[in-house]
């Protein structure tokens, strides 16, 4: 009898899921691809500015090692160094692959790839396709997957929702429970492994740059089934988004990469038209405070500064929480070519043309650095073993995670244009390991008793029947909005323990009210309400992870800013002093006057803080609550040191 092909279930049709599906098919195995909507609609299309790869085409002295350093430092040393290094070294090959697949990357006069600047680096490292890079990458990967569908290796189940993993008696993942969003039938799929490429959780906040599907429900369900969820408290707030009712639309970092300048009028409440305000009466606060990186400081830094300008210095435009992002000094042709897509979006939603008037923007929830804890394996040389079945595996055997749903690549703050890279890198990188896992597992999925699948299906059918019968007086969509408002108000850019403690209770109250939800839709066809209520249940759990993680982490690291625990870096401090300090320490006592006044104290505080907090927070479910413990981060390649961008 011919050996059957391995069958991998991939959940999610964004960049990570498509990359994994493509690679797995190329290696001769079958994929069942589950997507909540039609493919091509996934949230990855919202990425705008570009994708990073250090190819040094402008002779600036860039290299993958510098990309690695910028990423690790940008993430405040919380990212997993061996993995990030591998990703940065693979990046140029990934760009070439995408280019060969037909992505319309902008080009130089000679016809080679063009690169632009992005935040958190001094190099032109970002390849881009206008200002719709994410969309272009999704399409090109989708096309390759469609090719495999044409060849019979991919089966797509669109309009299907992943509800959970089918676990056997030993807790090994043997398949997935799937909900058909049209017939509302619930069924199981058997597979040799399951990959969650299900994106981020920004919908736990009431307004964000996220798409409507980004509830984080699939990853949370893995946590509810026993998987570890890491670094949930690290939520990226993007500095520049367009205010709106239903969502805060992203205004790409590439606007600043192409020369956009952030400013506010020096005079509070200045009511003049922005272009009538003379240069010397404008406060370009990022450029003044950070002469080296200017408007391209990392996102956590920029968001904090905008917050400071608006709320503490009360300098917001028209007294509102907004600052100007100004492109009017660039020619129209240049803007059309490099940023056309996002300029049109701004114009469509606000009526103002960024070519004519400065845009008004404010920070918004954007990305989760944290996600499902995933594993990896190194070779004896300390490189990533690309064949290892452990790569990207969650703490549930046979259940994998990739893309924004994982946790290893961005530490405490993600650099712009690294998310597209990490999504595609993880999808491609994990494929050989997943197939090795599938080939070498001691008991094959055929040997799992059918009762395992029956039980899983029955459990979920009953659960959805119960949800459909819920008939309280809480509207689930309203309750979701309240949950989101609670997180928006209390777990955002600036955090403090008193507020976070209150938030823990506020979420508990929402959880209690959840029992009183009404399933507001009674249709027995294409009914989205039961599914949403289940997602809301997951979002409540996820918000507990985020809030408790934030409460417990008593430090200031990357996007997690607690002013009470700011180590107050001296303004004249140079990060290399810290390397010097560590070296001196190795040789014995350090004279108290070896460094400028205050610096030694600061460095001791920094070192001490790292011994407590340079750790991944790991949430596991205990008695319906997240139990948070801490695990070491691999810092074997780059010595952690204070960040500084001026």
């Amino acid at each position: 009898m011919a050996k059957r092909k391995k069958r991998i279930i991939v959940i999610g049709g964004g960049l990570a899921g498509l990359s994994a599906a493509m690679k797995i098919c190329e290696m001769g195995s079958e994929v069942i691809l589950i997507a909540y909507q039609s493919l091509k609609r996934s949230h990855s299309v919202c990425a705008q500015g570009g994708i990073n790869a250090a190819m040094d085409t402008k002779d600036e002295g860039d290299s993958p090692e510098k990309h690695f350093f910028d990423t690790i430092r940008g993430g405040d040393f919380l990212a997993e160094q061996p993995l990030v290094r591998d990703m940065c070294h693979q990046a140029p090959a990934i760009i070439h692959l995408l280019d060969r697949m037909g992505v319309a990357f902008n080009r130089t006069g000679e016809g080679h790839l063009a690169f632009r600047r992005f935040g958190g680096t001094l190099y032109s490292r970002t390849a881009f396709a206008g200002a719709t890079t994410g969309q272009q990458l999704v399409y090109s990967l989708d096309e390759q997957v469609r090719r495999y569908e044409h060849d019979g290796l991919v089966q797509k189940l669109e309009w299907h929702e992943y509800l959970g993993a089918v676990l056997d008696g030993n807790g090994v993942c043997r398949g997935a429970i799937i909900h058909d969003l049209r017939t509302n039938e619930i069924f199981t799929l058997a597979g040799d492994a399951v990959i969650l490429a299900t994106g981020g959780p920004s919908q736990v906040y009431s307004r964000s740059t996220a798409s409507t599907v980004n509830t984080g429900a699939a990853a949370t369900m893995a946590y509810l089934q026993g998987a570890k969820y890491a670094n949930g408290e690290f939520i990226q707030i993007h500095p520049t988004a367009i205010p709106g009712q239903d969502k805060l639309r992203l205004m790409s970092e590439s606007a600043r990469g192409e020369g956009g300048r952030i400013w506010v009028p020096k005079k509070a409440g200045d009511t003049r038209e922005p272009l009538k305000i003379p240069e010397n009466e404008r406060y370009y606060f990022l450029e003044e405070k950070y002469p080296l990186y200017g408007n391209l400081v990392p996102r956590d830094v920029a968001s904090r500064e905008i917050y400071e300008i608006v709320y503490n210095q009360k300098l917001g435009v028209e007294g509102q929480p907004m600052v100007y992002l100004d492109l009017t000094h660039k020619t129209k042709e240049y803007l059309e070519d490099r940023l056309g897509g996002i300029i049109d979006i701004y114009k469509k939603f606000t009526g103002d043309d960024p070519r004519e008037v400065p845009m008004k923007i404010f920070p918004a929830v954007h990305y989760s650095m944290g996600g499902l804890w995933t594993d990896y394996e190194s070779t004896a040389e300390g490189l990533i073993d690309h064949q290892s079945p452990r790569n990207q595996m969650t703490s549930i055997q046979g259940l994998y995670a990739a893309g924004e749903a994982d946790c290893q690549y961005h530490g405490a703050n993600r650099l712009g244009a690294n998310s597209l890279l990490s999504c595609i890198y993880t999808g491609l990188m994990m494929a050989p390991g997943v197939l090795n896992y599938a080939s070498n597992i001691s008991k094959s999925v055929e040997d799992v008793p059918s009762s395992t699948f029956d039980e899983a299906r029955n459990y979920w059918t009953e659960r959805f029947d119960k949800i459909k019968k819920m008939d309280g007086n809480e509207n689930p969509y309203k309750l979701h909005q309240e949950l989101g408002d609670t997180l928006m108000e209390n777990v955002l850019i600036v955090r403090d323990n008193k507020t976070l403690e209150k938030t823990v209770y506020a979420i508990q109250e929402i959880e209690a009210r959840f029992k009183n939800v009404k399933c507001v839709d009674t249709n027995d066809w294409a009914n989205p309400a039961a599914s949403f209520i289940n997602q809301l249940y997951c979002m409540i759990h996820l918000s507990k992870i985020i809030t408790k993680g934030a409460l417990m982490r008593d430090e200031f690291r990357g996007a997690h800013y607690k002013p009470d625990y700011d180590l107050n870096q001296p303004s004249d401090f140079d990060p290399y002093e810290y390397i010097d300090y560590l070296e001196k320490k190795n040789y014995g006592e350090i004279a108290e006057d070896a460094f400028p006044p205050g610096h030694l104290d600061y460095m001791r505080r920094y070192e001490e803080n790292n011994t407590h907090w340079l750790k991944n927070s790991i949430a596991t479910l205990e008695d319906n609550q997240p139990d948070i413990t801490y695990e070491d981060v691999n810092t074997s390649l780059l010595t952690p040191r204070p960040r500084k961008y001026d």
Binding site: S38, K40, L97, N106, A129, E149, G244, D521, T522, A526
Partner: protein
């Protein structure tokens, strides 16, 4: 004081085979609202304008910033994305209907899988050798890139097909979106090597010859894709192909 409201009239349908019916709604006005914000409000308070409790209206949406193509519907009779339909810019009552050229799933949701099937038929992809690292892609002028980029912004939303008089629910016409994608891939140096396969597809049944040249497609495209230019170009390419077939086969 009379609170400002937004009035909507929505065509509803419970199931693919059931009969459509109309309902009217009134939701509180909020600045910067788009049609989606109104539909979300109906989810939170599922009542008609005359206070009848109903199942919330269902619709498709995802990105809410006009890059995913999902939330396409007829708004005041015109096909467009509902995320960029700002309440302040459109006439009330805002009339919402599902697209008419695709089977209704429920309410404002339709099944557009036909477009994706046609993309598969047209082999709308670059046939790469593999994903392994075999170096750079083909050198390409930025002007060719720019030409391709405009075409590659197509989000498979279906506006051009909804607007096309030739495209009906039950014929096999492929429509402008597909022809434009064939052009996109034929413009790529690697894609060009297999252009004949794509051309043969659109020379067959439901292909380019059925285009009635109504030019409604280009006017309806939210991304300003030069669809009539694509159709003309594909007309030329298929004519050459036909000639080649006659002479060489």
């Amino acid at each position: 004081m009379d609170a400002k409201t937004i009035k909507l009239k929505i065509k509803r349908q419970d199931k693919p085979e059931s009969k459509p019916y109309w309902q009217e709604f009134e939701v509180p006005y909020k600045p910067l609202s788009n049609v989606i914000a109104c539909l979300m409000e109906i989810q939170r308070t599922p009542l008609t304008a005359d206070g009848k409790q109903i199942n919330p209206v269902t619709w498709d949406a995802n990105c809410l910033e006009e890059v995913c193509g999902s939330c396409t519907m007829l708004i005041n009779g015109k096909v467009r994305q509902s995320c960029t339909a700002l309440v302040d810019q459109i006439k009330q009552p805002i009339v919402l209907e599902p697209m008419s050229k695709f089977p209704v799933v429920r309410d404002l949701q339709v099944d557009r899988s036909r477009i994706f099937k046609d993309l598969k038929k047209a082999k709308a992809w670059i046939p790469i050798d593999g994903t392994h690292d075999i170096g750079e892609g083909p050198v390409m002028s930025d002007s060719l890139r720019a030409k391709r980029y405009v075409l590659s912004e197509c989000m498979t939303c279906g506006c051009c097909l909804e607007a096309c008089p030739q495209y009906t629910k039950d014929n096999g016409f492929m429509g402008a979106a597909i022809f434009s994608q064939v052009r996109l891939f034929n413009l790529h140096p690697t894609g060009e090597m297999t252009q004949e396969e794509r051309l043969e597809t659109i020379m067959g049944k439901g292909g380019i010859a059925d285009c009635g040249n109504a030019q409604a497609c280009v006017e309806s495209c939210p991304k300003n894709i030069p669809l009539t230019e694509s159709i003309a170009d594909m007309g030329r390419q298929t004519s050459w192909q036909l000639l080649k077939n006659l002479l060489l086969k």
